[in-house]
Amino acid sequence: MIVTNRLRILATGTVLALVVAACGSDDPTTTEGGGGTVATGEPPAPDATDATDTMSDTGPDTGPDTIGDTTADTSTGDDGPVSGVTLVTYDSFPEADTSLNEALGRFTADTGIDVDILVAGDTGTMLAKAALTAGNPEGDVMWGIDNTFLSRAVEEEIFEPYQASGLENVPSELTDLVPDAAATPVDYGDVCVNYDIGWFDERGLEPPTSFDDLVDPAYAGMLVVQNPATSSPGLAFLLATIDEYGADGWQQYWQALGDNGVEVVESWTQAYYERFTWAGGGPTPMVVSYGTSPPAEVIFADPPRDDAPTGVVESTCFRQVEFAGVLRGTDAPEEARQLVDFLLSAGFQQELPLNLFVYPANSSVDLPQEFVDFAVAPDEPRTLDPEVIDENRAAWIDEWTELVLG
């Protein structure tokens, strides 16, 4: 009886404590991020300042005391006339506690503009929401629309065209995708076939080097790919085969892939962590993943290692380019443009590789050593015109579904 009562009190107390905790944490997001920024509290690195010129012109002075003050405020952001912008992004973007968030803290320190991160879901969901709210957006700047979704984004007029400063550092193959500055290219990477180096070594088998190799019976049953209807790397891989064999030839190729025992699963997580020999202990030594998966395997290896356990079949790589832009209808257009400029600046771009595992669009940024050693981004990657992708996406997916799953 006594025991029961005591437990009851404990339980009641716990619930009360939870309620109190709940009441006290209206804004649980940025406290740690802000703290981290204070710890680094040093003037922006030299390479960051030259790309943030524009902001230094318009922003308040960047003396050390200002940095301290504003960063301390990032967590609350509601006192004083400090303005703020909301950065809408996809769900793999970290909300707090990384060097990417600290870089955004430096933007706040330099300009007095707070940045709130709003996670809208996967890229497709984010775009669908933006299309529904075009003209009355959820935030001010959007990060992460990729080239397979770009022309729908442009057509739905979710962005306000803006010529970002710093575009001169972006290679023309990226800027050419948005001739009217409808959006700003901010990063790129590739979707490629990855293979388990150890598995091929053990069997004395050379890994394939081309799409044609993948249908060679020597590699029968060795590849797992994702369903292009529901997975973005899956779609990229389908587009790569369309680039290789043409709009009338890919069907035959997939027939051959099917005959050669290609396995199709729903998502990247399933393919990589359930079926792939290296990471999932599965039966399949090749998987559709990213050109930057090998450096991630090195960096997040347990125990640590200095060589990559996986390799990339370079000729299968399909280029994914991501864009940012000012959302049409923002009530802080000036601040939003400043943020887009900052997203393209070296100070922010240099944080991209090790946080999002993509290449910075700003070519003036030095790549981390792991990227130089292990990541793959072919000079001549496969790609398709965003408009062609958008026009044919639904039809191609339906045709693929019929052919491969039907």
Binding site: E274, A279, L354
Partner: protein, 543 residues
């Protein structure tokens, strides 16, 4: 009959009805108005695939529901009637399985199924059964444990076998709660998304998967809206049948506040209880063990680094992932507390209103079930375009997430409590009236006391649902920090063996958090009966 005054019933109804109208009906209708078009309707209905998908969704849901209810009866009986040492752990375990993200649980279930059954309809049904055991055990158990044992005992004395007692005495009496539980399981299986994608054959689509695909991958919101209508149509038919059946089968019973649990006695009974308990532990525990194991496994052997490095700010010098498990648990618990408070308040009022009102009660009852059967995409997108201008500029408010969770949890609270309230013997309030109590007072003294225990059971489920909720959370834009399921998905969506192991470590922590939360509410529940007050029903119930 001692009727409650109309104004009083109306006052009970207005809160839940308003909540439902503002946070569900309004966004839902707004989205349909925006997206539905003649073109979308004819295109969607004209596609053969649409009908294949509707048919597949329906039959797999029916098979899943029947299997779940049949299989779950045994643990529900044992948990409702017997006292054994691992009782709370067992209920907590089942609930943990119910709320864990499908990505991790699905993978664990796949790993345990024989290879030949992987990615078949059998795998889908098996996963639905394992996931939804908790629903039946909790909802049916909430009613069963209130049944007086004397009728069962009498029948047994007269020579009825255990099976006869069950089919002729217990089952007819608990039938409303069985129907209620079956309805919820059907809604879940019908709107299944994660299970289908993780354990189903590639390309398998339920209506829910197709709605998501159309809306987010193809940008075809119109097509998604038409499918939402189809989905609701099928579910509406099921709901109308279910609410009618629950009413028809509920009868006044001399309920006890709670029949005492007893230890199994006799060889046969001990065997039965042990068998059921062990089997349930294996079915529900194996996937959990599988994921705990994976948190220690790396491509090159065993390691505890995932645990020792969990929440360390720098995984490698200068590199942080931005996943703080304690923060994520804090966020999840915060959401869970708000969602539970909301769900219990709204659900409790709603139950009283539904039990007291006639036809309008039934409408409210069915209405509150609708969010369970509506696709998360539809609700999320509807809120987005409805709450987008002052005075209701609520998009991305942190509290929309707990409100969304509460929308899903309210039906559980109602289902857990309604069956019990309907069975309260009207003689009691008549007696109170005879003794001079005005209707409201009689109601307060005779009906309300029965509310607390099932309400606590509902609260446990509501908290668990909120802890594990992924769908609605991921379709609402959020800025309030990551919840556990979201953090798990993000870790498992990245390359790197350490991150993968940490994802499973986090999933293990979510399982433990849930088991603890459920055990705590269960303790609260034991104390929820009003003390020091004449206990209605006792005199009529078991001695």
């Amino acid at each position: 009959m001692n009727r409650l005054p109309r104004w009083f019933v109306a006052a009970l109804t207005v809160g839940p009805a308003a909540g439902l109208a503002v946070f569900f009906l309004w966004p839902f209708v707004t989205l349909l108005a925006e997206a539905l078009s003649g073109e979308a309707i004819s295109a969607t209905l004209g596609r053969d695939a649409t009908w294949d998908i509707v048919w597949f969704t329906t039959w797999q849901a029916v098979v899943s529901t029947v299997s779940t209810v049949l299989i779950a009866m045994a643990p529900a009986y044992v948990v409702a009637r017997f006292d054994f040492r691992t009782r709370r752990l067992l209920v907590g375990l089942l609930t943990a399985v119910f709320v864990l993200p499908t990505v991790v649980m699905g993978a664990a279930i796949l790993a345990l199924l024989p290879e030949s059954l992987d990615r078949t309809v059998f795998a889908i049904v098996a996963a639905h059964v394992v996931f939804n055991l908790a629903v039946v055990v909790r909802l049916v158990g909430a009613m069963w444990e209130h049944l007086p044992t004397d009728m069962e005992a009498a029948a047994a004395t007269l020579g009825a076998s255990r099976w006869q007692v069950f089919t002729q005495i217990s089952l007819p009496l608990i039938r409303p709660s069985v129907i209620a539980a079956a309805t919820v399981v059907f809604l879940f299986s019908f709107t299944s998304f994660g299970v289908i994608r993780v354990v189903g054959a590639t390309g398998t689509r339920t209506v829910e998967v197709e709605i998501w695909r159309r809306a987010t991958q193809l940008g075809d919101i119109g097509g998604a809206a038409v499918l939402t209508m189809l989905q609701l149509l099928v579910l509406g038919v099921g709901l109308v049948w279910s609410t009618a059946a629950q009413r028809r089968h509920s009868r006044a019973l001399g309920l006890t506040l709670r029949s005492p649990l007893r230890r199994p006695s006799g060889r046969g009974e001990r065997r039965l209880v042990t068998g059921v308990v062990v089997a349930t532990f294996v079915v529900a525990g194996a996937p959990l063990v599988a994921l705990a194991v994976r948190s220690f496994s790396t491509p090159t052997g065993w390691s505890t680094t995932a645990w020792t490095d969990l929440g360390r700010t720098e995984i490698r010098p200068g590199i942080r992932v931005g996943v703080d498990p304690w923060n994520a648990i804090g966020n999840s618990l915060t959401n869970a507390v708000w969602a539970t408070l909301l769900a219990v308040a709204v659900g409790g009022l709603a139950t009283l209103a539904i039990a007291a009102a006639g036809r309008s009660g039934r409408v409210l009852d069915a209405g509150l079930m609708l969010p369970l059967g509506t696709s998360a995409v539809t609700i999320g997108f509807g809120m987005l375009i409805t709450f987008d201008a002052p005075p209701v500029d609520w998009r991305a408010s942190w509290w929309l997430v707990p409100v969304g969770h509460a929308l899903i949890a309210v039906p559980f609270v109602v289902r857990a409590t309604l069956g019990v309230l309907r069975s309260v013997d009207p003689d009691l309030s008549t007696a109170a009236a005879t003794l001079g109590a005005p209707p409201v007072r009689a109601w307060r003294e005779t009906v309300v006391p029965y509310l607390w225990r099932p309400l606590a059971a509902g609260a446990g489920l509501a908290a668990a649902i909120s802890l594990g909720e992924f769908g609605a959370t991921s379709f609402l834009s959020r800025s309030g920090g990551e919840t556990m399921p979201i953090a798990i998905e993000r870790l498992l969506g990245r390359t790197g063996s350490l991150l993968q192991a940490q994802g499973f470590a986090l999933a293990t922590m979510l399982a433990v958090t849930t088991i603890v939360a459920v055990a705590l509410t269960d303790r609260l529940q034991s104390g929820a009966a009003p003390a020091g007050r004449p206990q209605p029903g006792r005199d009529r119930g078991s001695s």
